[in-house]
């Protein structure tokens, strides 16, 4: 289980997260919802060790992740699919996946598995990542993360700017990861896109966790969405 316990995070002098807490278990999909600038991306970056904590703890199965150097966090089984994809643009599809494989020392089966989820990448292994279409880039960002054989995967707006068919493919893959007992933290703007697959939803407001509710509860009673997202 991944737990984040009252973390404070700042960019230089400007504090962005205030005593933010949340947790996610294996085989669970936790969805983070919040307005633009609420601090969702900052939360995920903090988990990856890319931003220093001013206070608080991040633990994975009791081991404090926040005491590790950033490059050791992914080796503990935490994978990150960042907002805007951030592929290694000049490297090929194959090379991007190889970097994922290196993280965990995973082998060919892992790569074949990732490609089986996204067969379109199979045809484009030699293509440079920057020349892929938006949808293909998102597939590669996910494939790269899956190549690290994650136990926890952090997904930052994976359906941003994608058409419905692509969105449902991404959603299917997320559900498949859940079924394989991976813990998923999913950041989304589009509530409709995720509510059906999420187990729990945590609302982030002004850099801290506001309500956390069961997704089913939210479907019956959407007034919280109105309250936190204004939609």
């Amino acid at each position: 289980m991944l737990t984040i316990n009252k973390i404070d995070v700042a960019y230089d002098q400007v504090q962005v997260l205030f005593e933010l807490s949340l947790s996610v278990s294996r085989g669970e999909i936790l969805c983070l919802l919040g307005r633009n600038g609420a601090g969702k991306t900052t939360t995920l970056k903090s988990i990856m060790g890319l931003l220093p904590l001013r206070a608080g703890r991040i633990e994975f199965d009791g081991e404090p992740l926040n005491e590790l150097a950033a490059h050791l966090v992914p080796t503990k089984g935490i994978a990150y699919v960042p907002q805007g994809r951030r592929l290694f643009s000049e490297l090929s599809v194959q090379q991007n996946m190889e970097i994922g494989l290196m993280t965990s020392g995973a082998g060919k089966e892992t790569k074949d598995y990732a490609l089986s989820l996204f067969p379109r990448l199979q045809e484009r292994l030699k293509q440079r990542a920057e020349t892929l279409s938006g949808g293909e880039q998102q597939m590669l960002a996910m494939a790269r993360a899956i190549c690290t054989k994650p136990e926890v995967i952090l997904l930052d707006e994976p359906t941003e700017g994608l058409q419905p068919s692509m969105t449902s493919l991404i959603r299917d893959v997320i559900v498949q990861m859940k079924q394989q007992n991976v813990a998923v933290i999913l950041v989304e703007q589009h509530v409709d896109a995720v509510l059906s697959i999420a187990d729990r939803v945590t609302f982030i407001e002004h850099g801290t966790n506001a309500d956390t509710v069961q997704a089913a509860q939210l479907q019956e009673n959407p007034s919280l969405i109105q309250q936190y997202l204004g939609v």
Partner: protein, 308 residues
């Protein structure tokens, strides 16, 4: 000698300048490309390579070639290791902040230069080439009976000069293979493209930076060891290679290794030829003018990418 053969001889001198410059400038370009560090002390790593080559050859008795072969391996290793220490204890400590690294490497320039002066003295030191046979060169002369091979008196080079060109080409090829075909090359390129995402995939960016800074310095030192049987080693010899490397890296496009090699050939050949026909000073003036033109018409360099 006629103009044709004379130009040929001058081009050969230019090719040697280009070969050594390509090695030195690729080192600077790698460091800038991967680490975003403008290393003002790069010329001093070159100088140190040359001076260490002299020191090593002077320490080793026996056949002079032996000293040279030891120097070409050991001097770049020492310089590379020193650079890695500088990375760990200076650049890393100031977080690779762009402005502060410039100031820090200016400081490093003087520290290395003055320490060399204090340790090895101000004299220019020769190093004997491991082999140095004269090789007469042929020239094709158009006559009534078609092109004829002639051997103009005075048109010659030495086996060592040809070796310098061949060695530089080989080293650059190896470097290219390492960057494109190996795991460590992949890691360096991933770090260059997005260091945060590299970290998020288990890459120890600090280690990569130390390695790249060491490699960059070692390449400069290697160029210097190659050149030192042709030009003598002394403690102020780092400034010309620094200037020319900057020119080459800017013309080639910041961070583009291929662009750097192409620009090094262009500038090196021009420098060599103009130096033979006119003066080395005019050659530097022309190179600087060329930079100005490139910056006006192609601000990102010949092979540079537009940056956001």
């Amino acid at each position: 000698m006629d103009f044709g053969p004379y130009l040929f001889a001058a081009s050969l001198e230019g090719a040697i300048t280009a070969a050594v410059l390509a090695l030195t400038a690729v080192g600077l370009s790698l460091v800038f490309g991967v680490m975003r560090v403008v290393n003002v002390a790069h010329g001093e790593f070159y100088m140190l390579g040359a001076v260490l080559a002299w020191w090593i050859t002077s320490m080793i008795a026996g056949h002079p070639a032996l000293g040279f072969w030891v120097a070409i391996v050991v001097a770049p290793l020492i310089v590379g290791a020193l650079a890695m220490l500088c990375d760990r204890f200076i650049l890393n400590k100031i977080n690779y902040d762009p402005e502060r690294t410039i100031v820090a490497t200016i400081g490093l320039l003087y520290v290395i230069q003055q320490s060399t002066l204090m340790t090895f003295g101000p004299e220019a030191r020769p190093v004997e080439a491991p082999f140095n046979e004269r090789i007469a060169l042929p020239w094709l002369e158009p006559t009534n009976a078609g092109l004829q091979v002639i051997w103009p008196t005075g048109l010659s080079t030495t086996s060592y000069k040809l070796f310098v060109i061949a060695a530089a080409v080989t080293i650059l090829l190896i470097l290219w293979l390492v960057m494109t075909r190996t795991r460590i090359g992949l890691i360096m390129r991933a770090t260059q493209l997005d260091q945060e995402m590299a970290q998020a995939h288990g890459i120890d960016v600090n280690k990569v930076y130390a390695l790249v800074f060491g490699l960059g310095a070692a390449l400069a030192a290697l160029g210097a060891v190659l050149v030192v049987p042709i030009q003598q080693a002394y403690y102020l010899m780092g400034s010309d290679p620094l200037l020319l490397s900057f020119i080459v890296v800017i013309i080639g496009g910041l961070g583009s290794v291929l662009g750097t090699v192409v620009a090094a050939v262009l500038i090196g050949m021009t420098d060599g030829i103009v130096s033979v026909f006119f003066t080395p000073t005019l050659a530097k003036i022309l190179a600087t003018l060329l930079v100005a033109f490139v910056l006006i018409f192609k601000p990102n360099g010949l092979f540079g990418k537009r940056r956001e």
